[in-house]
């Protein structure tokens, strides 16, 4: 067993586990986007960054890839971590505002502004979950990344229909952006803040209830209310 410190709490974790595993085991929440149990760690979305070390040597690392080490000092919620995560989410919203996952992350992290030019045509956040799903779980390798930098995208070889694709739909199932689009009304601002920041009436009455409705319509009402408020102002 490895002994280390998580947010000041001395913890014991099994050898071979990552910081993220350790944190989740001890009930500490770290947001992730490109991580999925059962797929290899990728470290691309950087949302899971945590601060390790102390003093001048303190640095941010991605907890989904960093192995737990003996005597490691980990802070999952320090100021440095929170500011970094917030601006990353801001970048995500600007990149793909139509994704419900991204909007929910923004709401959860209390991101209040998007200061970058918002790209409303884009619907991929390049997290690479689908690529790994296809390769590691479906053993197909039908899709992959092409180009680099700002031109990077996910596609099949030569942009043609892949021969190895069995149209299993695994990629679509796992996608946090293009598949899980917000089904509600289009928010007028870049940040929607509709569904996570309100508690639907039905849940208020029975707090244990799990809701599987795609949309309960509550966000319509909430948005309408906000609009009226704005008009009054």
């Amino acid at each position: 067993m490895i002994e280390m410190s998580l947010d000041g709490i001395p913890v014991q974790v099994e050898e071979g586990s990552t910081i993220l595993d350790a944190a989740r085991f001890y009930g500490i929440e770290i947001p992730t986007l490109c991580h999925m149990d059962g797929l290899s760690s990728y470290g691309a979305c950087r949302l899971c960054v945590v601060e390790i070390g102390k003093g001048e040597n303190a640095k941010l690392v991605s907890s989904c890839t960093y192995p737990a080490e003996q005597g490691l000092l980990v802070r999952t919620n320090s100021k440095r971590v929170v500011t970094a995560r917030k601006i990353l989410v801001e970048l995500l919203v600007a990149m793909c505002p139509s994704s419900k996952t991204v909007q929910d992350l923004a709401s959860a992290m209390e991101v209040t502004q998007v200061r970058f030019k918002v790209d409303r045509t884009n619907d991929c956040i390049l997290c690479g979950l689908c690529v790994r799903m296809c390769e590691e779980q479906m053993m197909a390798k039908a899709i992959g990344f092409v180009n680099r930098g700002k031109n990077r995208k996910i596609t099949t070889p030569f942009d043609m229909k892949s021969e190895v694709c069995r149209t299993c739909g695994g990629c679509m199932y796992i996608c946090p952006a293009c598949e899980l689009r917000c089904q509600g009304p289009n928010a007028e601002t870049d940040l929607c803040n509709a569904c996570l920041n309100v508690q639907p009436v039905c849940l208020k009455e029975e707090d244990n209830k799990m809701c599987f409705l795609e949309t309960c319509g509550w966000c319509y009402e909430e948005l309408g209310r906000k609009k009226k408020k704005m008009e009054k102002k």
Binding site: G43, A44, C45, L47, S62, I87, L91, K117, R148, R152
Partner: protein, 1052 residues
């Protein structure tokens, strides 16, 4: 070929080679590096071959085409050994002369020698060239000596002795220990201790291990790895062999980018030869150790310089990094322990093994040992590769080795470490170059790129350039690097286009810090450096771009109208009035000039014409004579031009404004206030208005009548000038305040002379230059210099003015002594030349020590010779006295002219105005002092500056005062709007080259004894002709837009 097995084998071979080749032969080494290839060395090589054959010298002379010598600026380079005669910029047609003169007759070809720009002397030997003198070459030392295609050459200079020593006499542990002790750190840029890396790889579990040489050099402007491979590939192979033996790796890979075809070819050949001679393959040097190498060619992605990305690329995957740990030394290529080092690191290894770690660690600083090769590029005189010991200052690097900035421009910043490095400003040029110190100032060592930038570089544009590079080269795997660089580039591009917003700088900083903190690999972690360092050191430039929508360097095309207008502190519309002059519409031209400058006639005579230095016509032949043209319309009466009517508002502003000091700043402020409807009052302590323009500039440069006419024109607008009224003495500011004045503009200038601080200064006939000039201008009695010997001390314009004035008043001889060289003399070049023509002697590198007197009067002056010493951060060499070089100059009058200072102590009785340490008044950039309602500008704020700067300061403050009094920040100021002129211009017509028209001047013999103006005005015909030389850069944007509208670009 027998393989070499032991030390004695190698010794025997070496002796045979030396005997055969170095039998008193002359060796001609010819640089065949990439730089010299670009300057056309291949024709020189074939010319040499032909000529040697023709002269039947083939057996007596050895021709060697070597790798890069480093001094790429002067290529193609030819060095004749054993003497070391250095010829630069050799062309094929020079070869015959070299062979006939130097090789056959032993004579030097003078015109091919290197001319030292600092001393002006011709240098014969390679070792005496300043560029090489300042360097300490270890790794790069042999590059100019050997043929990279011949292993014999390498062995002849002692190659492979280190490998023999290591493999036959040392244990792997001892080798690693030696490298650790030497303090060698990774030369790729991160600076990880090499020995520690090797040890960790050696101790890693597993029997199969790899070593890799990282030759994926991708930084713009860096080419030392390439030159090492192209020039001395065997030293890298030797280093890798030693490393492989120490780590126990049997396989090695050289990852070189495919854009380096010569490097790939040289390396391939070197590997084949090394195999042949037994330095690669099975049982090397009979040690039982097997090692072989292969080349992998990279496809040229910048990110593949990162080790995990490089490994992915070698494995045939997409070149993308992965998160470390595990580190490659644990789990690298194919999952096996892998040690990756940079080309230069490997090349250092043989020298450490041969000469020992003690020797190596004696070079450099505490934490950074040894030498480092830098590629010195950009706006620098001596472009090339430089190897220097760690710890040398940037200043030495740029001014001493690099030879300073071309065309006498001033240094602005140096960018170290390629796109991921930072820009280091002038103030930090004393920084020693080592890993830690560069990091401290926000840059990195990187692989050793060093891009020098001059005053014409816009730092926001630099940040934009590097960000664009990085957003293309980022692999795009992690969000922070991909989106971060993209968004930073987006914001910075907006700023350069004039679409910046308040808060952009803060957002950039926040984003840059996050990108630095959260990115996966080195590329992203350093991608923010260009932004952070330019914001840190050049935030004012960002602010000017965002708030004022101006690009001071004149680079961001959307932010200025024409380079000359952008360079002018007062923003005069030069293309406008010049084109009007060209059409003979002189009154309109004068009206346009008067729009932004109340003193066109004064500026037409004594302005330092920044506009002309930026004039684009200079790239064709010479700049347009903007100053003389301005003077032409300024002398409207003489040239028969009607004076335009200046439009004044019909109302009068109900505020009283007082201006203290009737110099150029004060009068300009009054002029612009008057045009806004104010009736300001100017208080002047002297009996004349005009300030320094009236008292410090002699009649022959600026006739008093001309100045008075321009002042009278200002008065006509309703400005009241009260002469002989000294504020602070005759009347205080508080009294004026109670008289109803609501705003004050203090522009009293600099009027105290600085003392020399040498004995004998208080003798009679030691007269300060400004006192002397003003007494003459105010018709006060002065000591007559007739028939006397005058010595002026100083190098500024007032020194030259004083000297020329003394000469005109009949001095028998006038000498100026100046402690630096002509190059550094601050006076205008044309003034210095004119003074010399008139007979003023200028003694450079001379400083006064003591003034001797007789009966209280000056008799002689003791001087000492100086020599140029160390460079300062401005690139000027500090003068150092030469011991025992004292000498005497006879003098009857001594005129010190070493600068002015300001003294405002008596001015603000009862007011607590903040001042700077040097006595100048502290204001913000709008001219506001610490007291509301009290404004200041001109020299008393900026320190000694030019007339046009004072005018600009007066205009700025007039606007500030108006905004303060009206409390309206949205007011429009008519002169600040760009005025288009409806002159004809044919954009299709190619400019015909003809030189600048020069106005007539009086002959030197006619100038003596009188104060007539030296330079005359243009005639109408000449003015029109000169005006037509203007290229009309102001129309560029307009025409471009028009063209785009007419012919929309079609992408097919």
């Amino acid at each position: 070929m027998k393989k070499i097995q032991t030390a004695s084998d190698l010794k025997d071979v070496r002796e045979t080679i030396t005997k055969n080749t170095r039998n008193g032969k002359t060796i001609v080494t010819l640089c065949g590096g990439t730089g010299c290839h670009a300057s056309g060395c291949s024709t020189v090589i074939s010319a040499f071959k032909r000529e040697l054959k023709k002269q039947k010298l083939k057996d007596k002379v050895d021709l060697k085409v070597t790798g890069c010598h480093g001094f790429c600026e002067k290529g193609p380079i030819v060095v004749l050994h054993p003497k070391g005669i250095f010829y630069k910029q050799v062309k094929a047609k020079d070869v015959k002369e070299i062979v006939e003169q130097t090789l056959l007759k032993g004579k030097i070809v003078d015109r091919l020698l290197y001319n030292d720009p600092l001393t002006g002397k011709k240098i014969t030997l390679e070792k005496d060239v300043q560029f090489y003198k300042g360097q300490e070459r270890i790794v790069f030392a042999d590059n100019g000596l050997l043929d990279p295609y011949k292993i014999e050459d390498f062995i002849a200079i002692g190659g492979y002795t280190a490998a023999v020593k290591a493999l036959t006499t040392m244990s792997p542990e001892r080798i690693i220990d030696e490298i650790k002790k030497s303090g060698l750190r990774g030369r790729g840029g991160a600076g990880f201790p090499t020995g520690v890396k090797w040890e960790s790889c050696r101790n890693a579990k597993g029997s199969t291990k790899y070593i890799i040489c990282n030759a994926d050099e991708g930084d713009p402007g860096a080419y030392m790895d390439r030159s090492l491979i192209e020039g001395n590939p065997f030293s890298i192979l030797e280093g890798m062999l030693i490393g492989a033996f120490a780590i126990h790796a049997n396989e090695g890979i050289i990852y070189v980018r495919d854009e380096y075809p010569i490097a790939v070819q040289t390396m391939k050949n070197a590997i084949t030869l090394a195999r042949k001679w037994g330095f690669l393959g099975k049982n090397i040097l009979d040690s039982g150790f097997d090692f072989d190498l292969s080349i992998v060619r990279g496809a040229g992605a910048f990110v593949c310089g990162e080790e995990t990305a490089l490994i992915a690329s070698v494995e045939g995957k997409k070149g993308e990094p992965r998160q470390r740990p595990p580190f490659p030394t644990q789990k690298g290529l194919w999952g096996k322990p892998t040690n990756i080092n940079n080309v230069e690191t490997w090349a250092n290894v043989p020298y450490i093994i041969n000469k020992g770690s003690k020797w190596y660690s004696s070079i450099g600083t505490e934490k950074s040992k040894g030498t480092k090769i830098f590629s010195l590029v950009g706006k620098i005189n001596n472009t090339g590769l430089v190897e220097v010991p760690m710890g040398i200052t940037l200043k030495e690097m740029i001014y001493s080795i690099g030879g300073g900035i071309p065309e006498g421009k001033s240094f602005k910043a140096v960018q170290t470490g390629g796109p991921s490095g930072g820009c280091i400003p002038k103030e930090l040029l004393e920084t020693p170059i080592d890993y830690e110190k560069l990091k401290e100032v926000g840059s990195i060592m990187g692989s050793g790129g060093m891009v020098v930038m001059d005053e014409d570089t816009c730092m926001v544009d630099v940040a934009r350039y590097f960000l664009e590079f990085l957003q293309d080269e980022s692999c795009g795997k992690c969000l922070s690097c991909r989106e971060g660089t993209k968004r930073m580039a987006e914001i910075v591009t907006d700023i350069t286009k004039g679409q910046g917003k308040e808060g952009d700088i803060e957002l950039l900083q926040e984003l840059a810090t996050a990108v630095k903190d959260t990115s996966m690999c080195g590329l992203g972690q350093t991608a923010a450096n260009p932004v952070l360092s330019t914001i840190k050191f050049f935030s004012a430039e960002y602010e000017t771009h965002i708030m004022d929508r101006k690009c001071p360097a004149g680079v961001c095309r959307d932010l200025y109208i024409s380079p000359c207008q952008n360079a002018c502190p007062a923003g005069m519309n030069a293309p406008g009035y010049i084109s009007l002059i060209g059409e003979g519409r002189f009154t309109e031209a004068l009206e346009l000039a008067l729009d932004t400058n109340p003193f066109p006639s004064v500026c037409g005579r004594i302005c330092d014409h920044q506009c002309m230095f930026k004039c684009r016509r200079n790239q064709i032949d010479e700049p347009v004579a903007i100053r003389s043209l301005k003077r032409f319309i300024g002398d409207y009466e003489e040239n028969g031009i009607d004076y335009p009517k200046i439009k004044l508002p019909t109302f009068t502003m109900p505020f009283k404004v007082a201006i203290v000091g009737a110099g150029p700043a004060g009068l300009s402020c009054a002029y612009f206030l008057a045009r806004l409807g104010y009736k300001p009052t100017v208080f002047e302590k002297l009996p004349v208005a005009g300030g320094m323009m009236a008292v410090a500039i002699p009649e022959y440069r600026l006739p008093k009548a001309i100045l008075q006419r321009e002042i009278d024109n200002i008065k006509k607008l309703g400005v009241n000038i009260k002469l002989n009224t000294q504020v602070g003495e005759d009347i205080t500011i508080s009294q004026l305040w109670s008289q109803g004045y609501q705003a004050f503009f203090v522009a009293v200038g600099m009027y105290g002379d600085r003392n020399l601080g040498i004995p004998g200064e208080n003798l009679e006939n030691v007269i300060q230059a400004v006192d002397l000039l003003s007494d003459i201008n105010l018709d006060k009695p002065v000591v007559s210099p007739a028939g006397k010997k005058v010595v002026v001390i100083g190098g500024g314009n007032s020194a030259v003015d004083a000297a020329r004035t003394m000469l005109r008043m009949g001095a028998s001889s006038v000498a100026i002594i100046y402690r630096r060289t002509r190059r550094e003399m601050p006076a205008y070049v044309e003034e210095i030349e004119a003074a010399e023509h008139e007979g003023v002697q200028i003694k450079f590198l001379t400083a006064p020590e003591k003034i001797f007197g007789e009966k209280g009067k000056v008799k002689s002056i003791e001087c000492i010779k100086m020599r140029p010493g160390e460079f300062d951060t401005e690139g000027r060499q500090k003068p150092v006295p030469v011991k025992d070089s004292n000498f005497f100059i006879d003098a009857d009058i001594v005129v010190p002219a070493i600068g002015e200072f300001s003294d405002v102590s008596g001015l603000f009785t009862g007011l607590d105005v903040e001042t700077n340490r040097d006595g100048t008044i502290k204001t913000d950039k709008h001219g506001r002092t610490s007291i509301p309602g009290l404004f200041s500008g001109g020299d008393v704020v900026s320190g000694p500056a030019t007339v046009i700067n004072a005018i600009a300061s007066g205009e700025r403050t007039a606007v500030t005062i108006d905004q303060y009094l009206t409390k309206d920040r949205t007011r429009k100021y008519p002169w600040r709007e760009h005025k288009k002129v409806d002159t004809f211009f044919d954009p299709e017509a190619e400019p015909v080259s003809y030189r600048m028209q020069k106005p007539k001047t009086l002959l030197p013999k006619d100038r003596r004894g009188c104060f007539d103006e030296v330079e005359l005005s243009f005639t109408q015909a000449l003015a029109k002709k000169e005006a037509k030389r203007c290229l009309r850069c102001d129309l560029e944007l307009e025409l471009q837009e028009k063209l785009q509208k007419e012919k929309p670009l079609e992408v097919t």
